[in-house]
Symmetry: C2
Subunit: 175 residues, 2 copies
């Protein structure tokens, strides 16, 4: 059985600052017409940064949930920006840390039913202190949390963000 | 420093079958006006189902990425449907398996920058065979993959879906 669907027509409903929305006319694998609602996103970069047994977590209000949650440093890719540069930039902006090396851990598909976002998750190695300079409209609080405490936060549901759980669990499995 | 943002006005741009889109007028923590693009989603349920050392994975074409990818059985919540019922329903629809018990592993926030979707991830215990009956517009292929092979697929980037990675890593850590 073929599983591929075909695009008949891309229909843009909204072009925004963070996302675009399309409602495409498409064909199911058996040729039946269908609609596909797609959220276009430029992609994101995130960084797992562990220093002296502590992981950098950023607390930030997430408007969509109406909650302040803990995440690893991350942000969206700027136009044409390679993911690794975005990761280095976000780490520096949010924590002031500069990594000598970033190694790619995952290219994560956060919720493939409706978005094309890819989140590039890196691990920062050999970080040195620089200067924090968050974006003008980013209000956040950086914490360095002992790994065992971070693992507990994942296990007990206090950390809810997918990229953060994926990165922390990978680190836990590998060490 | 307060991190909360306030809603001034919710502005609906699109109301669809899977998602709604809003572009709200809001206030940053310091009172500065801002816009917030929010994708509303009813939430999803997913099931980690391991039988005789093999995990149930569903291969499905994901239109947003133009790729066929492997995921644990999952789907969106119907109106008013409790997540646990949705999990049982999706497991039965996609694999034909019925679980005697579903235990909640995670409430995952897949990409908190713009969506309010919550994915409830369950572990199925003591499954018995029933009858498969996929949705009319779901074209998918079910496989039972040995756990070690599934872990390798996560490590090597062949499994990209966030909920699937989170569930498999949790199982690997716990066993």
């Amino acid at each position: 059985m073929k599983l591929e669907e075909k695009t008949v027509c891309k229909n843009y409903i909204y072009r925004g600052r963070i996302v675009n929305l399309r409602c495409d006319d498409a064909l199911l694998p058996d040729g039946t017409p269908c609609k596909r609602e797609i959220v276009e996103h430029p992609g994101g970069a995130a960084v797992l940064c562990v220093r002296e047994g502590k992981v950098a977590l950023v607390r930030q209000f997430r408007y969509a949930y109406g909650e302040t949650i803990a995440e690893i440093p991350a942000g969206k890719l700027e136009a044409g920006e390679p993911p690794e540069e975005a990761a280095a930039r976000e780490l520096a902006e949010e924590t002031g840390l500069v990594a000598k090396e970033l190694s790619l851990l995952f290219v994560l598909y956060p919720t493939p039913g409706y978005t094309n976002e890819k989140i590039y998750i890196y691990e920062a190695k050999e970080t040195v202190c620089g200067v924090r300079h968050p974006d003008r409209d980013e209000f956040l609080r950086v914490e360095f949390v002992p790994l065992e405490e971070a693992y507990r936060m994942v296990d007990e549901g206090e950390i809810k963000d997918a990229k953060t759980i994926v990165a922390l669990q990978r680190y836990r499995i590998g060490h």
